[in-house]
C-alpha cells in the first residue's frame, strides 16, 4: 500500500512540472509583458518613464533575462518562498489574494463533492432497485436536465424564478453586514443560509452523472449469479443488497472523483461569477479581463494542482477499497 502511494506521488511530479510549463507559456502569451502594460498605464495617467527607469524596472522584474531563466525563477519563487509574483491589477502579492480566496473555493468544492455523493448514491440505488418505476423515470429525466443545463444558466434562471415568483434574492455568500466582518458564529450561520444555493447548482451536473453511473453499475451487479445464490440461501433482502452489490457498485464511483473535480472547479468558477461569490472565480475573470497574467496563470495553476491532488486522493481511496488495483493488473490486463 505504501509502495503504491509513493509511486502515485512520484508520478504527479512530472505532471505538475508540465502544468507549470503550460501555465508559464500562457502567462507569456499576451502580446507584450506586464511591464508594457505598466508603462502604458503610467502614460495614460500622464507620467512618462525615462529610458533608464524602464531598464531598471526590467532588471528588477528579471524581464531582461531569457525566458527559461524567467521560468526557473518563477518556479523557484513559487516552491521556496510561496511567491507567485505580483498582481498589478490589485497591486498586491498574488499569494495574498489567493490566500483569501482559495480556502472558500476548496470548501465549496469539497461540500459540493460530498453533496453530490450523499444525494446521488441513495437515488442511484433506489432507481436501480425500482427500475422503470415512476420515480426512476423522474430521476432519469431530471438527470438529463442536470447534465444538459450548464450551472451558470441554471443559476440565472433559478435566480430570476425565485426572485419574481417567491420574492427572495439569492446570490452572494454573506449578507452585506457580514461581508467584511471577522469570523463569528453569526457569520457562520449566515454563510450556511447562503451556501446551499451555489452548492446545489454546482453539484447538479455531477449528481446527475453519478446517479446514472450508480444506477448502471448496480443494475449490472444485481444480475450476477452471486446475488441469486445469496437470495436462494435466504439472506434478508436488505442485507443482501447493501452488503454485496452496493459495495461493489460504489467502487468505480470512487475513481470518478478525479473526473468530476475539474468539472466542479469549472462550474464553480462560472457560478461564482454569476452569483457573485467571493471565491477565485470572479478574481480570475477580473484578472483575465485586465490581462493580469500572473494572477490568472497562478489561479489556473492552483486549480489544476488541486485537481491533481484530488485525483491522487481518489486513486489512493480506490486502492484502499479495492485490493485488485493495489496489486496492479485488474483482471486480464
Amino acid at each position: 500500500m505504501l509502495y503504491f502511494i509513493m509511486r502515485r506521488i512520484l508520478f504527479i511530479i512530472p505532471l505538475l512540472l508540465i502544468i507549470s510549463i503550460i501555465t508559464f507559456v500562457v502567462i507569456q502569451l499576451p502580446p507584450g509583458d506586464f511591464l508594457t502594460t505598466l508603462i502604458t498605464r503610467y502614460k495614460l495617467s500622464g507620467i512618462e518613464l525615462a529610458e533608464n527607469e524602464v531598464e531598471r524596472l526590467k532588471e528588477m522584474y528579471g524581464l531582461d533575462k531569457p525566458l527559461y531563466i524567467q521560468y526557473f525563477k518563477w518556479v523557484r519563487n513559487m516552491i521556496f518562498y510561496g511567491d507567485f509574483g505580483r498582481s498589478f491589477e490589485w497591486n498586491r502579492a498574488v499569494s495574498d489574494i489567493l490566500r483569501e480566496r482559495i480556502p472558500l473555493t476548496v470548501t465549496i468544492s469539497l461540500i459540493t463533492v460530498i453533496f453530490t455523493w450523499v444525494v446521488a448514491i441513495p437515488i442511484g440505488i433506489y432507481s436501480a432497485l425500482h427500475q422503470y418505476s415512476t420515480f426512476d423515470y423522474l430521476f432519469t429525466f431530471l438527470g438529463f436536465i442536470g447534465l444538459s443545463v450548464p450551472g451558470f444558466l441554471l443559476a440565472l434562471i433559478l435566480m430570476w424564478f425565485l426572485y419574481t415568483y417567491l420574492g427572495f434574492k439569492v446570490g452572494g455568500l454573506f449578507s452585506p453586514q457580514f461581508l467584511t466582518a471577522p469570523w463569528s458564529i453569526l457569520k457562520l450561520i449566515d454563510l450556511l443560509k447562503h451556501i446551499w444555493f451555489p452548492i446545489i447548482i454546482i453539484g447538479m451536473s455531477g449528481t446527475a452523472g453519478l446517479i446514472r453511473t450508480m444506477r448502471g453499475n448496480l443494475l449490472d451487479e444485481l444480475r450476477k449469479q452471486y446475488v441469486i445464490t445469496a437470495r436462494a440461501k435466504g439472506l434478508p433482502e436488505k442485507r443482501l443488497i447493501f452488503k454485496y452489490p452496493v459495495r461493489i457498485a460504489i467502487n468505480p464511483l470512487i475513481s470518478t472523483i478525479g473526473w468530476t473535480l475539474p468539472g466542479i472547479f469549472s462550474g464553480e468558477t462560472l457560478v461564482s461569477i454569476v452569483l457573485n461569490i467571493q471565491t477565485v472565480g470572479p478574481v480570475l475573470l477580473k484578472a483575465v479581463m485586465a490581462q493580469d497574467m500572473f494572477l490568472a496563470g497562478s489561479i489556473v495553476m492552483i486549480l489544476s494542482f488541486l485537481t491533481v491532488v484530488g485525483t491522487l486522493i481518489s486513486d489512493i481511496l480506490l486502492a484502499w477499497a479495492d485490493p485488485r488495483i493495489r496489486y496492479g493488473g485488474v483482471g486480464g490486463e
Binding site: L153, M159, W160, G171, L261, P262, L284, Q291, T311
Partner: protein
C-alpha cells in the same frame, strides 16, 4: 381455405421476407432502423434540423436585420400577438404600444394601445439582404407595417431580440460543428497513432491526455482567450476560439479511437491485410476506421454540446466572441446580473435556446449510442 388461414400464411411470408431484409441490410440501414424506434432521439433530430435551418435562413426568418435599431423602443417587452378581436378569430395582429413614465419608479413602461391595430403579413418586403449570401432580396417571412414587431422584445439599444437570437444561432450552432470537426481530426490522428503503434508513443500520448483532462476547462479557456486581442476581426476570433475549445475536446475522441484500435488491431482481418501487404495508413483508413465509425459518430454527437456550452460561457463572460458579432453567449451578456434579469426577463430567452440545443444533442447522442451497435441484442 378460411380467411383466417390465408391471413396467417401471409403474415408468415411477410415475416420471412422481413427477416430476409434484416439479413441483407447494410450496417447503416440497421442502425437507422434501430434509431428510428428511439422516439426522443427522433424528435431531437427534427428540432436540431429545424434550428440549423433557421440559422441558415435567419435573414429571411427574422423581421429585422442585425443592424436594425429602434429609435424609441428600448427594453421593450416581447410584443403580444393576438388572434382574436371582439371574440372573433382574425388574421394575427399586434397592438401598438405607448411608452409611459412610471412616476413611482421613474422607469418607462410599455402599454398596449388597443386603438391601433397592425395585422401581421407574411412574405413582406423589408430591409434588403442576400439570401445565403448570394441572392439579393428583401422578402421576410413575416412582418408588420407601420409598427415594428418584436416577438422576443428588444435590448437596451432597441434591437430586436428575436432577430438577434436567430442571427446568433449561426455562431452558436456552427461553432459546435467546426470545433468538433477540429477535435475529430486531432483525436483521430493522435488517437490512431497512440492505439496503432502502442508502446512508448502510446504511453506519452496517454499521459498528455490525462494531463489535459485534469485541467479545469473553464479557467483554462478563460486564460487562453484572454490573450486574444480584442480588435481582431470576427472571423479570426471565431476560429481561434474554436481552436481553444478543441484543445481539450480532442482528448475524449482520441481515447475512443485508441481503445477501439487496440482491440481491432488484434482481429484477424487486420492480420490478413498486413499479410496482403497493405500499408499501415491503408489498414487504418480502409479497414479499422470503418469498423468503428458508428462509435465515433456517437462520441462526436455527445461532444458537440460541450463545445456549444464552452462558447456560450466564454462569450457570456465577455471573453469569447466580441459584440459586433452575435452569438447566444453574447446576447446573454445582457442578462448577467439579477437586477437586469428581474426587470427584463426576456433577456434570458437565448438561454432557453442554448438549453434546448444541448438537450437535443444529448438525446440524439443517446439514441445513436443505442443504435450504434445494431448487432448487439
Amino acid at each position: 381455405m378460411s380467411n383466417e388461414k390465408i391471413f396467417k400464411e401471409k403474415e408468415e411470408i411477410e415475416g420471412e421476407s422481413l427477416k430476409e431484409e434484416i439479413y441483407l441490410a447494410s450496417q447503416w440501414q440497421l442502425i437507422w432502423w434501430k434509431f428510428r424506434r428511439h422516439r426522443l432521439a427522433m424528435i431531437s433530430m427534427f428540432i436540431l434540423l429545424l434550428l440549423y435551418f433557421c440559422a441558415i435562413f435567419c435573414e429571411f426568418l427574422s423581421p429585422h436585420s442585425i443592424t436594425y435599431r429602434s429609435e424609441e423602443f428600448y427594453d421593450a417587452p416581447p410584443t403580444k400577438i393576438h388572434f382574436f378581436r371582439n371574440g372573433k378569430l382574425v388574421r394575427p395582429f399586434i397592438y401598438g404600444f405607448k411608452k409611459e413614465l412610471d412616476l413611482e419608479t421613474f422607469k418607462f413602461k410599455f402599454k398596449e394601445d388597443t386603438t391601433q391595430m397592425y395585422p401581421i403579413y407574411f412574405f413582406v418586403r423589408g430591409e434588403p439582404y442576400k439570401l445565403l449570401g448570394l441572392y439579393p432580396t428583401n422578402i421576410h417571412l413575416f412582418g408588420t407595417e407601420g409598427f415594428p414587431i418584436f416577438p422576443f422584445g428588444t435590448d437596451s439599444l432597441g434591437r430586436c431580440l428575436f432577430s438577434r437570437t436567430l442571427y446568433g444561432s449561426r455562431i452558436s450552432l456552427s461553432i459546435g460543428l467546426v470545433g468538433v470537426f477540429i477535435s475529430f481530426l486531432l483525436g483521430i490522428v493522435i488517437g490512431g497513432i497512440s492505439g496503432y503503434f502502442g508502446g512508448t508513443v502510446d504511453n506519452i500520448i496517454q499521459r498528455i491526455i490525462e494531463l489535459l483532462i485534469s485541467v479545469p476547462t473553464i479557467p483554462f479557456w478563460m486564460v487562453l482567450s484572454a490573450s486574444l486581442p480584442r480588435d481582431w476581426p470576427v472571423v479570426k476570433t471565431y476560429f481561434v476560439i474554436t481552436l481553444i475549445l478543441s484543445i481539450i475536446g480532442w482528448c475524449g475522441l482520441a481515447r475512443v479511437v485508441r481503445g477501439k484500435l487496440l482491440s481491432l488491431r488484434e482481429e484477424d482481418f487486420t492480420l490478413a491485410a498486413r499479410l496482403a501487404g497493405a500499408s499501415e495508413w491503408r489498414i487504418i483508413m480502409r479497414h479499422l476506421l470503418p469498423s468503428f465509425a458508428s462509435h465515433l459518430i456517437v462520441s462526436i454527437t455527445l461532444s458537440i454540446p460541450s463545445m456549444i456550452l464552452g462558447e456560450t460561457a466564454l462569450s457570456f463572460l465577455g471573453l469569447g466572441m466580441q459584440p459586433p458579432a452575435v452569438s447566444w453567449g453574447v446576447l446573454l451578456q445582457d442578462a448577467q446580473n439579477i437586477s437586469s434579469v428581474a426587470l427584463y426577463p426576456w433577456r434570458l430567452i437565448p438561454a432557453f435556446f442554448v438549453i434546448l440545443t444541448v438537450l437535443c444533442f444529448n438525446f440524439l447522442g443517446d439514441g445513436l449510442r443505442d443504435a450504434a451497435d445494431p448487432y448487439a441484442r
